[in-house]
Symmetry: none
Subunit: 186 residues, 4 copies
Amino acid sequence: MTKTAPDSTRRSERARKAILTAALDEVAEVGYAKLCIEGIAARAGVGKQTIYRWWPSKGAVVFDAVLDLGEGESSPPDTGDLEADLKTALRATVAELNDPRVAPALRALRTAISHDPQLAATYAERIDNPRCEARKQRLRELDVDLDVAVDILWAPLINRWLKGGEVTPEYADRVVEMALNGLCPR
Amino acid sequence: MTKTAPDSTRRSERARKAILTAALDEVAEVGYAKLCIEGIAARAGVGKQTIYRWWPSKGAVVFDAVLDLGEGESSPPDTGDLEADLKTALRATVAELNDPRVAPALRALRTAISHDPQLAATYAERIDNPRCEARKQRLRELDVDLDVAVDILWAPLINRWLKGGEVTPEYADRVVEMALNGLCPR
Amino acid sequence: MTKTAPDSTRRSERARKAILTAALDEVAEVGYAKLCIEGIAARAGVGKQTIYRWWPSKGAVVFDAVLDLGEGESSPPDTGDLEADLKTALRATVAELNDPRVAPALRALRTAISHDPQLAATYAERIDNPRCEARKQRLRELDVDLDVAVDILWAPLINRWLKGGEVTPEYADRVVEMALNGLCPR
Amino acid sequence: MTKTAPDSTRRSERARKAILTAALDEVAEVGYAKLCIEGIAARAGVGKQTIYRWWPSKGAVVFDAVLDLGEGESSPPDTGDLEADLKTALRATVAELNDPRVAPALRALRTAISHDPQLAATYAERIDNPRCEARKQRLRELDVDLDVAVDILWAPLINRWLKGGEVTPEYADRVVEMALNGLCPR
DNA sequence: ACCTAAACGAGACGGTACGTCATGTCTTTTT
DNA sequence: AAAAAGACATGACGTACCGTCTCGTTTAGGT
């Protein structure tokens, strides 16, 4: 006689959607620090237990909410002009970081993973790596370590954004130009 | 006759030190998420009110603790060999990010500023800008936007570290090389 | 849709009993002045919120504790000898006022009602009036204002006790005799 | 070399007055339960230490405040008509109990003494006994235990008042009449 | 008319308790 | 069997006061 895991076939899709939506709304309204399960449950019109049954932590809820959010992501374009394509790609990231729907949740998620290695691993696997792979795809013609290249291109945006600085399309362009040419232009 | 702020001349230096030390220890032990004022107060042997009297939030306490920690920071070296100097500088950052004394507090601070614009502003002014200025100093010979250059060099480390990835001296070297040469080596 | 009161059907009888008992014990040990909700909760093995959920103040808790205590009270006897019956009744009150189990709680209750009109009203209705009615019952044969008569008989005991004086059976007898005969014996 | 007691010759009369007045005002405004030393000190424009230097507890402060208040008390009149004189005397007590300046402080004092035997003793000696003696004086012609007689006359008023009931001159008259004649009028 | 020691106002300190809020577990009732 | 509702033990929140302890600053004798 063993305690069985929740039977996911019986799971209420209505409740799941309501919870993820409520989580995003709450994060946007009160911020991740004051985000609470009770608030999500109340806003979703759902019992607390229904959240605890399916997610181990509020970080995990936010994680799934962000996953749902970013379902339909596109790869960087490939027009043949590398610099132009990268600028387009980074500008897309800039837009995302400034999108009032996405930004608070993303910020919450970054906070959550920085304190929860388990969540960080899942984030890497499910969200970060796929994105990186797509980005590396556009860089495949270069003869460098693509992981580092992606970091050099995108990390400046992320870091500036996490520090609360303004992240503009122009800044993205500067990053692309300097990254491609190097700091010591010859 | 206006309501005056607490009289800092009467402030107990003993209590201040004890609180900052306790904050670092607690962050290292339980992490920022579970860091609580009561815990800091108890560990410091101090009344809670003594914390609330001088700091507006636990984030601010951590901030001051980190400030105290990084009091004696050195500028990047200047041997004439730019690449070598940058590698030295970035390796110093890597060491800091892996230092078990500094890392948890720094992580906590980054979390705090990402949710508190007021704190973010103070962070920029008191901690981040001075560091950036020192770094820009070594790059002054370059004919590029130094703010962006500093980002391209350091942001990859920070971002990787915040995502929970391993940040090694070798990775730092790769970043320096690629940043200096550009992604499209000619 | 209106905010509903706590659902008393779900109330834990175990917690309720534990709280009332703990309240009596605490009052007896530390006195009403130092009685605190946290102490009651800790002694009862109960969360503070469980107290706040069901009682508006520590006075109300003490009130219920005293109510529980005095559940099985008896009416004054009726042997036909009025003086003897009244002496018996007043001696019962004396015993109560000197009972180490009852006295501290009663004292606490008197303090509470003297500062809380709401509580005073409930006290009058639920505790005081029933007792007075029972006492008036034995005096029904007299042709006087029974409310005043009950006061003249019992108030001297209560007042002396509240002032910290000794309240003895002999004193009770003297009160009965003088009250029945009047101060100007003819 | 022994620690000396405060030198009462240097005591500031201004501060003493301000504290006692502030205590009465505070009691009248917020009630004894919420009366606090800090509140008294603030209202009196006085440092907390000045209160702690001269009084051991807030009960003692209230005690002195009441003492100051009732300085000029008069004895019951003596016209030769016992019943009339007693009615006059009890009506004076009724007036005091309904006086918005005196009542809250008196209520506070009664609360304080019921939880502090030390204070109760001082109350008996300095306030209660003198009053009782004055009252007994008017009853000296009676051939009964005067302590009990005074109780029978005054306790009903006090008790009713402490329970939050209305205490009227008419009620005082009824008490006098019934106490003098006895419950079994012959 | 000074001098000095106290009493004074102010307020920081280590604490305790407040009343509120959120946690994660649990039961009960409904669907 | 899952879900909604919500009571429960736990524990942190930020506030209010406690009583003690410095700090300067009056202020009131004693010389």
